[in-house]
């Protein structure tokens, strides 16, 4: 797809530039919507950059932890059902760490500024090496 200009990143940056230009001319409600739209564009940009890598990593971790095969969605669903049924009560710390790692992945895409420094640093080093 790189033969197509502008690239998807440039398209998103262009839309963001428009929003940035007009946001201060809007009334308060539209301004809030525009700020939310800019936030969603940021999320989209980060997900395009690292989403596939994170998904593949999570799939490997889930397969290893549960011993099951299937799509990421299926394994997440099974994991949720197993937690609810109490099947991981005796492995609370292990399942907790697995879920926390995946939540940290999601926050690194949605709101990386909200991560504590040790999680932010770990994410940056993982993404640099991928």
């Amino acid at each position: 797809m790189s033969r197509n200009w502008p690239t998807v990143d440039e398209i998103m940056a262009t839309v963001d530039e428009l929003l940035e230009t007009i946001v201060d001319r809007l009334d308060e409600r539209d301004r809030y919507d525009a700020l939310c739209a800019r936030y969603l564009l940021d999320v989209g940009r980060r997900e395009l950059a690292v989403g596939k890598v994170l998904d593949a990593q999570e799939l490997r971790e889930l397969q290893s932890f549960t011993g099951e095969s299937g799509s990421l969605e299926e394994l997440h669903k099974n994991l949720g059902q197993s937690i609810r049924a109490g099947r991981y009560d005796e492995q609370w710390q292990q399942v907790f760490e697995l879920v926390l790692a995946h939540v940290v992945n999601n926050v690194s895409v949605s709101r990386p500024d909200q991560l504590e420094p040790h999680h932010r640093k770990a994410k940056e080093s993982t993404q640099d090496s991928s």
Binding site: D27, E28, R29, Y32, D33, C36, A37, Y39, L40, V43, E73, H76, K77, L79, G80, I83, R84, G86, D89, V95, F96, V99, L100, H102, V103, V104, N106, V107, S110, R111, Q114, L115, E116
Partner: protein, 340 residues
Amino acid sequence: MAQDLSIDPDVAQVRDRLLAAVRRRYGERAGIENLVSATLGGSNRTVLFDFNDDRASTRRLVLRQETYALAQSPFLAPHPQFRLLKIAHRAGIPVPEPIFELDDDDGLGRGYIVACVLGETLPKRLVNDPDFSTARARFSAQCGEILARLHALDPVAAEFLADVPDSLDPVAAQTARYDSYAQTHPAIELGLRWLHLNRPTASKPCLLHGDFRNGNLIVDHGGIRAVLDWECAHLGDPMEDIGWLCTRSWRFGYPDRPIGGIGTRKEFATAYAANGGVDVDWERVHWWEVFGLVRWAVLNVMQAHGHIGGQRRAIPFAACGRNTCVIEYDLLMTLSGEYD
């Protein structure tokens, strides 16, 4: 916050019917003007307007119309909300004065009219703006006083809330809502499981506001003037309201100030006890703070569900979906003991 009527289709839609509703009750000389629509809320549309008739001077009022009435809605219908406002107002709890309730003949759906209370609700301004320094100094104590007075009311007066899912079993209520959105969130499952495994013993039920937090309080420079948003009220453990007030999501950048990002637990507990409340059981409150994070995560899933399903399409609701993981992060960090 305000929009000009000429460009706001929400307001244009309600104007004629609102005028007719007012005239049915106050006579043909009654009038309305200066309608403006407030920012889209989680469950209600809010329209402010000036009311006048031939007897009284102009009065600023607020129309609250229900906008979320789907199955598994976590919000009370307007009728019990209005009843609660009357109960609270009679008891001297600071709420907007209830004026009248809409009925079928009004053609405005379900909702009610209350008096407008002037002040600020935006949490970021309340926690940061130097103009609110006096209000901030009183904030925790006022929260303690208001909640103590609310929790002291005879819950029999609000017995119509006894069948609300949150009154029956708040964890089951969250679980049912979460399941209805058909999304998979292992972190929410962990939170629900922890709540199940660590559940405190039942307590004598009180009338709870259910959404008492920074953001649902009208504050002026002198302090809290009104408690808004009664659509989550139910009967339950008084520590639930305190836990929700302290939930990390409502600290707005000041995690070391558990009372709304402004004050301390000690200030709150002192005022709560001084106004008739029981001694605050902070261990129990912690359980309710975890519950609050699960609940807030589920509410954000709900907003994204409404956006994606098309029932309530709005950009902020799409953003809520991507905010869910941030709440899950707070939840897990709280469960691990890294956050208090």
